[in-house]
Amino acid sequence: MTVQDVIQVILFFALLIGLTPILGNYMYKVFTGNKHIMLPLFGWLEKITYKLTGVNSDEETNWKSYTFGLLMFNLVGLVFVFLIQVIQVYLPLNPAHLPNVSWHSAFNTSVSFMTNTNWQGYAGETTLSYFVQMVGLTVQNFVSAATGIAVLIALIKGISRKTTDKLGNFWVDLTRSTLYVLLPLSILFAIVLVGQGVIQNFKTYETVQTLQGTQQVIPMGPAASQIAIKQLGTNGGGFFNANSSHPLENPTPFSNFLEMLAILLIPAALTYTYGKMVGSIRQGWTIFTAMLILLVIGLSISLYAEYSSNPIFGHLPLMEGKETRFGITNSVLWSTSTSAASNGSVNAMHDSLSPIAGMVAMVNIMLGEIIFGGVGAGLYGMLIFIILTVFIAGLMVGRTPEYLGKKIEAFEVQMALVAILAPNIIILLFSAWASVCTSGLSSLNNSGSHGLSEILYAYASAAGNNGSAFAGLNANTVFYNLTIGFGMLIGRFGVIIPVMAIAGSMAKKKITPPSSGTFHTDNWLFIGLLIAIILIVGGLTHFPALSLGPIAEHLLLNLKI
């Protein structure tokens, strides 16, 4: 690594740490109904929204109504996106005259964007019209992210309130996170991106003469607006198939830096919002620190692996699949962040990462997308692990386990386990199925241990609602579209529903005031414990498969086989 690389990494983390309290405090104001700077600008929009939809913003509901509203809202979004894909020929804004999308691909894509996964089994510019991209996908980019935040806000209320069954109002939380958080940030970010050269137009695809004298079709479109929300909302679905390695999506080193920062920005800031809402900023920073440590560990391992020489090719940096514009450090920093944060956008091909760096990305996803994770989803996933940690270790202080004064009992443990099991079941069962059946194996571009890694990565990405891919797998088949589609659904709602149930159950409990006999969840000891539980539970589940995939591949590489 060069000095510039080091400075850039340090600057990246310094900015992340610095922006966390600023944005976190702002979101605290938004979600607790306090006055904030966006009210004069968008306040009227919020009021109109409620009026048009008939939402009573003062009415609070219990966890079941909250969850029901959320599920219905997502179901409507799913059906809508599905329909406009299969009839896109008849819809406007289709200058390239792209045909209707196949039913299985349309199913996969609608699930993918509704669940904040943004797995793309299709190639954006050659499959979907501008209309579908804007009205379907971009809208889902916003509301799927807002859904994640809403679930988190409900869980925080469940933790911080006492003896009530009211968790707030889903429609209010959804509207506020869209209007006051995602929309202003995206507009701001899109403008900056346009300034850096990202395209934003409705032109037909242009045909240009290249220097070699051949003709090339350059796709056009409203890219900047989608890229802004794809990064900020941990969506990751690129406007172009090549995602953020495409020069029109990510033209400059500065746009690259900002796009990377945008991946982690909101998930990181939500930890601060959490701290403020539960009444202890320290609790928020504790979670932030645990996430940061896990991220830095992963990054260090990846950087080490990438900068080590490739035993087969000798002392060359591993540049295959990377943009020379970005180089190794920026590619690895991106791959680590995007896999940790459930974003899934890429600026380098993960398939070509060194086996160990590829494994780090995979492990980041397999741990449950909790290292910052998806907007809202990352923190509520982390809180599930916190509940587990508190339950296992809390007993060791000689009291029945409690978190922030709330007793952790059978119901919470049960729901936490469902939330942890759901994505893991998908990863293990579907990968196992794909690695033995012909329809699974025929999509592989690579054989051997790397092929297994591709399968594992695909289902991990689906279950973790990440959306990035080891691109070596041709996933646009009926088998993969369906299994991955169901994987994304279970990975999303198999976690959301138990999390909401926990929120409902926690809200009803009393709060025991802390004393010196209380298990502390805001110190280094707890950070260490939390990390250990995450690594042991997550690691032990996937170690056998990983050892046959990337670990075997790494060892084989060193044996020059």
């Binding site: 007993l395 060791m396 009992e409 293990l428 241990s449 297994l452 032990l540 498969a545 075997a552």
Partner: protein
């Protein structure tokens, strides 16, 4: 107490019975109650079937045999740990039960006395108990006074007084009347007496899982499901890897190997020991002579963070003692002491006796012949609120009185006497210090003040400091005035106090604390304590208390020792700590087992022309062979259960320290230790196995 119990931990008889019971517990209906061990049992059966199927097909696999044996041993060890905990409980129950078999009762049928078996007595029956009789069942004294030997249940040899009415009317079946005659009304149905319930609980036969135990079982089952999935999907990944390395599918993982891996990963250690920990928690409570009416109560005891403690008996010795004489101006101290002693000679209250003792100690004033003095004693009454003595001489009657300052003031003023300001100052000063001033007067003259002091128990201050460290707030409850209460509270080092507390105040205080999220523990004996005992999260009734109090609480202290509350809290905490520590240990163990088994099964993959594939580098323990590696992990997994049985029964070492200190300590031992220990254990077993082979 600890050492006595430890020596009987591996009593031969209990061990033998426990071994038998571990076989009986193989009954699937019993096994299924423990999902983790149930999975192991299914694995054992499958492995055994595969072993025999192999033998019938003519290829005997010594490896499968050894795996099968050790899997069965794992199940048996888990059963054994539960059986031995139950056995120890049973032993205690048997000794309790001995007192009751074939006891006869003298039932009063109208006016007639008939002899029936104690077990045939119904609620509401009235029985006669005379000196030498055993009290046949739990009941209430409705007539008479008797001294009763309760050593059968309390272990305390000194007899106690039981009388009708008031707070000492409850008697327990199995105890013995030593003197006098009482009529007892039976208050429980046959088979549900206090002792019966107690014995059932101790035996653990009807033991129900406690809330935290249920939650932990769910966790263990959940982890088992995760590992079951990880193992069940492994053959698919393995098969893929085999074809990728050009190896035949016949080399795919065999079912015994998969089962071995599964059993090593699921939390068998804590799964096997969980119920033993619960039973022995109940047991430890009984060693402190406290009986809980449910296991839930012990768990709650660990959570208690506010203790309401009665001042008298818990914090102070119970009786106020005279500590010095303060004479009025113009009175010698001897004269005051003499008068005070005279007035107290036939005062049988502890205060009165302490004055006599103090006078003797300080001025060698001995007891005097009452008749010679021609004295008549005036006892303390609720109306006069003073006591004393009238000395008749030929001329007049000398009246000596002692009592609270206001009544004595009225007394001397009625006799045209004068109440000095200095005495008033002394009285106020003593009251401020938390003492009880007793003013002594002779006719119209104030002689001085006797300083009566509440004596705070030795070591109690340190005890409260320990509780504070553990995050437990202590609240002293007293009927004293706020001034006195504050002084004693300061001396004893409690965190808070309630002065002039009525039973309603106690109840209200408990509700307030609970509304603020606290869990409250209290100890009480009187009928008027019953509502508060019922409301408290932990209500310990004293065995000497009324039946109402005993029914209201969720624990009974057979020793009737008010400080017992503190020990109960410690037992609860120790139980939870043991559970958490062994869970942590069990999960931490998995890391090493992976490093034993994964390289062992994957050694042939991608081997190419060499014999050993690349994944053999994961064999960081350098285990002898793939088979010995798997076997060592399985053996370690089984043996660790039996090695941890004593710890499960005794509980992890408990110290009154803060949560953080306790956590750090337990994490170091059971977390870090849990990661390191199996690396060493598996390596050692592997060395031994390879020696034999």
């Amino acid at each position: 107490m600890g050492t006595k119990q430890n020596s009987s931990l591996f009593n031969k008889k209990i061990l033998l019975q426990a071994s038998k019971d571990s076989l009986i517990k193989l009954n699937p209906a019993l096994l299924i109650k423990n999902p983790v061990i149930f999975i192991v049992a299914i694995g054992s059966i499958l492995t055994t079937i595969i072993l025999f199927a192999g033998i019938f097909q003519g290829h005997f696999s010594p490896f499968n045999l050894q795996i099968a044996i050790w899997l069965w041993v794992t199940v048996l060890f888990a059963n054994f740990s539960e059986a031995i905990a139950e056995g120890r409980g049973k032993a205690q129950a048997d000794s309790l039960r001995k007192n009751r078999t074939q006891a006869k009762a003298r039932k009063l049928d109208g006016k007639q006395e008939i002899s029936v078996f104690a077990t045939e007595l119904n609620k509401g029956d009235i029985v006669i108990c005379e000196a030498g009789d055993a009290i046949p069942s739990d009941g209430e004294v409705i007539e008479g006074v008797a001294s009763v030997d309760e050593s059968a249940i309390t272990g305390e040899s000194a007899p106690v007084i039981r009388e009708s009415g008031g707070d000492r009317s409850a008697v327990t079946g199995g105890t013995k009347v030593i003197s006098d005659r009482i009529l007892v009304r039976i208050t429980t149905e046959p088979g549900s007496t206090f002792l019966d319930r107690m014995i059932t609980l101790v035996e653990g036969a009807k033991r129900q899982k406690t809330p935290n135990e249920i939650a932990l079982s769910i966790l263990l089952s959940g982890l088992s499901i995760i590992f079951l999935l990880a193992v069940a999907t492994l053959p698919a990944f393995f098969g893929y890897s085999l074809s990728a390395s050009g190896l035949p599918m016949s080399q795919n993982l065999s079912i015994p190997v998969l089962i071995a891996l599964l059993v090593c990963l699921i939390p068998t250690t804590i799964g096997g020991l969980l119920s033993a920990i619960g039973i022995s928690g109940m047991d430890r409570l009984i060693q402190h002579n406290v009986i809980a009416t449910s296991g839930r109560a012990i768990e709650a005891a660990g959570d208690v963070d506010v203790l309401l403690l009665d001042k008298t008996g818990t914090i102070t010795l119970g009786n106020r003692m005279a500590t010095n004489f303060i004479p009025a101006d113009g009175v010698t101290i001897e004269e005051l002491a003499d008068a005070a002693q005279l007035s107290s000679l036939s005062d049988e209250t502890p205060e009165g006796r302490s004055i006599v003792v103090l006078a003797k100690e300080q001025f060698n004033i001995r007891g005097r012949d009452v008749h010679q003095l021609n004295a008549s004693f005036i006892p303390f009454t609720a109306q006069s609120r003073m006591s004393g003595v009238d000395l008749k001489t030929d001329v007049s009657v000398v009246k000596i009185r002692k009592g609270a300052s206001d009544v004595i003031r009225t007394f001397v003023q009625n006799n045209n006497g004068f109440y000095p300001q200095k005495i008033q100052d002394t009285v106020s000063e003593l009251a401020r210090q938390g003492a009880t001033p007793l003013v002594v007067a002779k006719d119209n003259r104030i002689l001085g003040v006797v300083h009566l002091k509440d004596i705070v128990k030795g070591g109690i201050r340190q005890r409260f400091a320990e509780l504070r460290k553990m995050g437990i707030k202590t609240v002293m409850i007293t009927g004293d005035n706020p001034l006195t209460a504050a002084a004693i509270a300061a001396e004893a080092g409690v965190d808070d106090f309630m002065a002039e507390a009525t039973p309603e105040d106690k109840l209200r205080r408990i509700r307030e604390e609970q509304a603020n999220g606290h869990l409250v523990g209290m100890i009480g004996d009187g009928t008027n304590d019953a509502p508060a005992l019922a409301q408290a999260d932990i209500g310990i009734a004293m065995n000497t208390g009324t039946q109402a109090a005993r029914e209201a609480g969720n624990m009974v202290d057979l020793d009737s020792n008010p400080t017992k509350l503190i020990e109960v809290v410690e037992v609860g905490k120790q139980l939870l700590m043991t559970r958490g520590s062994l869970t942590t240990f069990s999960i931490a163990n998995d890391v090493a087992k992976y490093f034993a088994i994964i390289p062992a099964i994957a050694i042939g993959l991608y081997a190419g022309t060499t014999e050993v594939g690349p994944l053999s580098v994961l064999n960081i323990m350098n285990l002898g062979s793939p088979q010995s590696a798997i076997l060592s992990a399985v053996i370690f997994n089984a043996i660790i259960i039996i090695l941890l049985v004593p710890l499960a029964l005794k509980g992890v070492r408990y110290r009154p320290v803060s949560a953080n200190a306790a956590l750090t300590r337990n994490l170091l031992i059971f977390g870090l230790g849990g990661i390191i220990a199996p690396f060493i254990g598996i390596k050692l077993i592997d060395i031994i196995i390879n020696l034999k082979i």
